[in-house]
């Protein structure tokens, strides 16, 4: 049984063959499959399988046979050899690209698009075929003409030829079908797929796509009015759907002049569906160009054991249904510092020499594995390829280290720079100022310590009031007195030096000393008062009165000291 599916731009021919070994002895391990010379160069994909529900794919390879040097054959290796007299069923799928011819090749906007397919009425096999039928699935029921070789029957959108019996090897008869076909004839003329692998857990995929509407060319003018109001231009392509892997994130759709604002994204369970609308509807012969890109996490595609890694990704991905890619180039940008790169593809490709790619902080450049497709690619070619490479994990630290080093050097330089004096003349004023500022700071800190001592006296007085223990209080006062003397002499010494440098400041320090002395006196008086109170020499009321006046004086002088200190 043979079925020919014309319902898209591709031609899918499915051969369901029952093979029988009629020889008397010996098992058959392989058999030959042939296609008529006219379609041979349009083959985009050929595959064979055994079984109907769970298929087992068989190995298919192209060969030449001595007796028929002008023909190309495909050698299909069977899984189980057919013994003499035995039989087996094999499915062979052939996908032809560009086999449908637009007829007429030029239409106006209002007209419908027709396509014509010319094929072989019979299977072109090197064996004699006992019985065969051909079923053709049509894209529409508007059938213009078809080959009427009997027996034939037409039913809605299918044509059925056959059964024909006992057909000799290499029998050919023209089967021509001319039918209305408004399906998108969208062809990818160029695809550049760049996969950039980062060892930090991300893989970026960017596809640069040139698409062309390969249907009947638009003749005459394009009228937006008719397109919008009269729904003409049925063969034009307004939008198409692209399926991305389910893990795709940060998807973008743009071209050279920026984001294309007409697209929708739908996240589904097993894929991310993009509804892409080109900037303008594509009519026959029109083309456009766009870029689509996204990120996927690397754990789904990158596997490693020690330093050995394997990248397992799709060679091409889904762009739209029934796609046909004429030229594809895949570039895989591996991390910097990989070695021992081995490429393994599911079907033959044209390998090109490795390139180099430089991004930020790269030193030796990243290895780029590049290869191009041979012949057309279809959805059947969405298969995985593998790249093995060795990548020592510690090289990942190289780039952060470069950054760290660079910043370290920068800071080191600036540290050195600010510490060096590049001026030709020595700036006396500035130096003196700095010196004085240093002295002032010292004075201020000394003053701080003095006020801490005063605080200690205050504390001691409070304690005395509570405990009435005079001896402890006396001891505390003594200690404070000696400490205070030390600080005061230190300040006086400083005052002399400051005065040498800056007269004004010296005066100020002098003033500070004077105020401090007054404060100290007041505090001494207060201490005496407290002592008197504790020993009972003074009445409580009188004490309170005297203390109040003292306290007021104290705060005034303290304010003065504070403002002096602040003025430094």
């Amino acid at each position: 049984d043979r079925s020919v599916d014309l319902s898209s731009q591709l031609v899918r021919i499915n051969y369901k063959m029952s093979l029988s070994n009629t020889g008397s002895s010996g098992a058959v391990k392989t058999f030959l499959f042939g296609l008529e010379p006219s379609t041979n160069d349009k083959v985009a994909f050929i595959g064979a399988a055994v079984g109907s529900s769970d298929k087992t794919y068989l190995r298919v390879s192209e060969t030449k046979v001595q007796a028929h040097m002008d023909k190309t054959f495909y050698k299909i290796e069977l899984k189980d050899a057919i013994s003499a007299g035995g039989s087996a069923t094999v499915n062979v799928e052939v996908v032809l690209g560009g086999a449908q011819e637009m007829y007429p090749a030029v239409i106006t906007q209002k007209e419908k698009q027709f396509s014509r397919f010319i094929g072989n009425l019979y299977a072109y096999l090197p064996y004699s075929v006992t019985s065969q039928t051909t079923t053709v699935t049509l894209p529409s029921s508007n059938l213009e003409s078809y080959t009427k070789t009997k027996p034939v029957s037409v039913q809605d959108t299918t044509i059925k030829y056959g059964p024909f019996s006992n057909i000799a090897p290499f029998t050919a008869a023209e089967m021509s079908i001319h039918v209305e076909n408004n399906n998108p004839m969208l062809v990818v003329t160029n695809l550049l797929r760049v996969i950039e692998v980062s060892m930090w857990g991300n893989i970026n995929i960017e596809e640069t796509v040139d698409v062309k509407h390969n249907g009947a060319q638009l003749k005459g003018s394009f009228s937006r009015y008719e397109f919008q109001r009269e729904n003409s231009g049925v063969s034009s392509i307004k939008s198409f759907k692209t399926l991305l892997p389910a893990a795709a994130r940060d998807v973008y759709y743009r071209d050279d002049i920026g984001n294309i604002s007409t697209s929708h994204m739908k996240v589904m369970d097993d894929a991310v569906e993009l509804d892409l609308r080109p900037r303008f509807p594509l009519f026959g012969g029109w083309k456009t160009h766009y870029v689509i890109g996204y990120n996927v996490p690397s754990y789904e595609y990158l596997f490693y054991k020690g330093d050995n890694h394997v990248l397992n990704m799709r060679l091409v991905d889904h762009l739209f249904d029934d796609m046909l890619i004429e030229n594809a180039e895949v570039r895989v940008i591996l991390p910097e510092g990989v070695t021992d790169v081995v490429l393994d593809t599911p079907f033959p490709v044209k390998r090109m020499p490795n390139g180099k790619h430089f991004t930020y902080l790269d030193t030796t450049g990243r290895t780029v594995v590049m290869f191009q497709s041979v012949g057309d690619l279809t959805e059947n070619h969405i298969q995985d390829f593998q790249i093995q490479f060795t990548f020592p994990h510690r090289t990942m630290l190289l780039e952060p280290l470069i950054l760290v080093l660079a910043f370290f050097l920068l800071f080191l330089l600036s540290i050195v720079y600010v510490r060096l004096d590049f001026s030709i003349t020595v700036d006396e004023g500035a130096q003196a100022k700095m010196k004085v500022a240093g002295y002032c700071e010292k004075v201020a800190s000394l003053q701080d310590r003095r006020s801490a001592l005063y605080q200690a006296v205050e504390d001691a007085m409070v304690k005395l009031k509570a405990s009435k223990d005079l001896s402890v209080f006396q001891a505390a006062l003594k200690k404070v007195a000696s400490d205070h003397k030390n600080e005061t002499t230190a300040i006086s010494e400083l005052q002399v030096t400051i005065k040498n440098v800056n007269q004004d400041l010296g005066e100020k320090v002098n003033e500070l000393q004077r105020c401090d002395k007054i404060y100290r006196d007041y505090q001494a008086q207060q201490a005496v008062l407290v002592e008197k109170l504790v020993t009972g020499k003074l009445q409580k009321a009188a004490y309170l009165d005297q203390e109040a006046t003292l306290l007021k004086k104290k705060t005034e002088i303290a304010d003065k000291i504070n403002s002096l200190i602040r003025a430094f």
Binding site: G220, S221, F222, S223, R224, Y225, R229, D255, D256, I257, G258, I260, S261, T262, R279, F280, G285, W286, K287, T288, H289
Partner: protein, 571 residues
């Protein structure tokens, strides 16, 4: 002036819409850099005038070089600085510092600027630079005279001075006259006439007048771009006058001239914005610091007053003053806050959306994006031959070149206006005449912008009168008369009452081709133009020499293909 004024000015310039319009991403132009260069040059100039230091003057010259390399508006700068010197001279403030500064800046700056190929020998040839050169000469004479005066008795000096003045001025007058007549010194170019006399361009060079940026600024746009700065500006001027120094004179001069130029041309709002900010900064900080004094000291003052128990009246008056100060500060804060909100609003509304992608609100509040320009340009890029030549009005020239990667007949470089005029003639002529012009210019595609379906008002029909004027401004286009395109009552109308010349010209036909069948608004007949709010006058016509090649989704961009000449005998 003061740190506060500087801070205020910096804060204002950071958000002033007049400047953001050029520096925001998207509209970023070399003018954005140029304004920085200009201010930097001014800063260094003031610095050098203040110090009289060759070091600063040399730096100023280098900054001037930077400015020259970034923007043609450097001419403003090279006139501003000599003017400052001149005014200083007249005020009797001329000193050795100014002499040193100006001589260094002028000689070095001119030499450096001549390295730029665009400038070349212009500094010594064109009249725009004459002021600088003249002031330079004057400086030398003045300094020489001063020197003589110092070394001579007054009587002798007077005789010498008078004779010198007469001789030198006559030499200069004769020399200038001869040079101008012999063509060595270029006469004033159109752009500068239009600066000095706003009506000059309109009367003589339509192409200069047609650019919306070259229109005189309206009051509303002053307010829109500067808001309270407009009112603070005089206050700042007042503060500058009250403390007249060399650099204050410069700020005053700069401010006054910038206001004048900005009034002549919208584009020069850019030059005005910084000085507005500076002067307003001065005004705000000076007035605030005046009033803040009362607020700052008021706490301790009142306390002291009450403690010492002085007269009640005194307390009252301080309290009153405090109240006014409070009121003023609050008012000023309020103004500054409104300024900020206004700036943010203007920036987000007017200057942040890309002009190439339009957006509108639909009835249900959703956003509709009109991406028609890019759609059409991308179509041109992908689906026309690579050597195709596109004719459009010159506004879109650079866009088409950049986005569609196609050759255009005229673009935004308005140097060659006879070519632009030719395109204007084609657009304004009937189809047959236009076809001849298009064949002559070897045009493959014609692109027009049409807003009638969406209500996009800056389309080619609204610009059409300029095309007519520019088309009619050259000898070849003398048959195109502006008044032919008006109705007898002098109106420009595209409906049934419009003039027949207009309804049959190429531009009209390209814009409204097949538009007569389209229903644009409910309740209106087909062919209702939403920009001009009329039903178009000429609905059913076919194009003979053009065919519609592409029309974008919302009809904003329409592209026509010029048909080849018909084969002989088929007609």
């Amino acid at each position: 002036h003061s740190v506060g004024a500087g801070l205020c000015a910096a804060g204002m310039i950071a958000i002033v819409p007049g400047y953001i319009s050029r520096s925001v991403a998207g509209s970023y132009d070399n003018e954005g850099i140029a304004i920085f260069c200009m201010l930097f040059t001014y800063y260094l100039w003031i610095k050098s005038v203040k110090t009289g230091n060759i070091y600063w003057s040399a730096l100023c010259a280098v900054a001037y070089f930077y400015m020259v390399s970034s923007w043609g508006g450097y001419v403003f700068l090279i006139n501003m600085i000599p003017l400052h010197v001149l005014v200083l001279m007249i005020c009797g403030r001329f000193s050795h510092r100014v002499y040193v500064a100006y001589c260094t800046v002028y000689t070095l700056g001119t030499l450096l600027s001549m390295q730029i190929s665009f400038v070349g020998f212009q500094p010594v040839q064109t009249s725009e630079h004459m002021l600088a050169l003249g002031v330079f000469g004057l400086c030398q004479i003045y300094a020489f005279v001063e020197y003589l005066r110092a070394n001579m008795t007054p009587e002798y000096f007077n005789i010498l001075f008078k004779s010198l003045v007469i001789i030198i001025s006559s030499i200069i007058a004769v020399g200038l006259g001869v040079l101008t007549l012999s063509g060595k010194v270029a006469p004033w170019t159109g752009r500068f006439y239009s600066l000095l006399d706003p009506s000059y361009a309109k009367n003589n060079i339509p192409i200069i007048a047609s650019v919306s940026e070259h229109q005189p600024t309206s009051w509303s746009s002053f307010y829109f771009d500067l808001q309270i700065l407009t009112f603070l500006f005089p206050a700042g001027l007042y503060y500058c006058f009250s403390k007249l120094t060399d650099h204050n004179i410069f700020i005053i001069l700069y401010g006054v001239f910038a206001v004048y130029f900005a009034g002549v041309m919208v584009r020069l709002m850019l030059v005005l914005a910084p000085v507005m900010c500076i002067l307003s900064g001065i005004a705000v900080s000076s007035s605030l610091s005046t009033y803040m004094k009362y607020l700052d000291g008021s706490g301790s003052q009142t306390k002291a007053a009450s403690k010492q128990g002085k007269g009640r009246q005194d307390t009252n008056s301080t309290q009153q003053r405090e109240g006014t100060a409070y009121l003023f500060v609050v008012l000023m804060t309020f103004f500054l806050v409104t300024y900020t909100t206004h700036c943010i609003w203007v920036t987000s509304e007017a200057y942040s959306s890309p002009s190439i992608v339009l957006s509108a609100r639909s009835h249900d509040g959703g956003r509709i994006i009109f991406d028609d320009f890019r759609e059409a340009y991308w179509w041109l890029r992908e689906n026309t031959p690579e050597d195709a030549k596109v004719m459009s009005w010159w506004d879109y020239g650079y866009q088409i070149t950049a986005m569609a990667n196609r050759t255009v007949i005229v673009d935004n470089n308005t140097w060659n206006n006879t070519h632009i005029s030719r395109v204007g003639q084609a657009m304004a002529s009937t189809e047959d005449k236009a076809y001849e012009i298009m064949r002559e210019l070897d045009v493959d595609y014609v692109l027009v912008i049409f807003g009638g379906l969406t209500g996009y008002s800056s389309d080619d029909i609204n610009k059409f009168l300029w095309m007519v004027r520019i088309g009619g401004s050259t000898p070849e286009g003398e048959h195109i008369k502006e008044k032919d395109y008006y109705t007898p009552s002098g109106e420009f109308r595209v409906d049934g009452e419009g003039s027949s010349t207009l309804l049959n010209c190429l531009m009209y036909k390209m814009c409204y081709y097949r538009f007569g069948q389209v229903y644009t608004e409910t309740g209106k007949p087909p062919g209702y133009d939403r920009v001009r709010n009329v039903v178009i006058g000429n609905k059913d016509f076919e194009l003979d020499v053009l065919e519609e090649a592409y029309t974008s989704e919302h009809w904003i961009v329409r592209i026509y293909k010029v048909k080849d000449l018909p084969n002989r005998g088929t007609r």
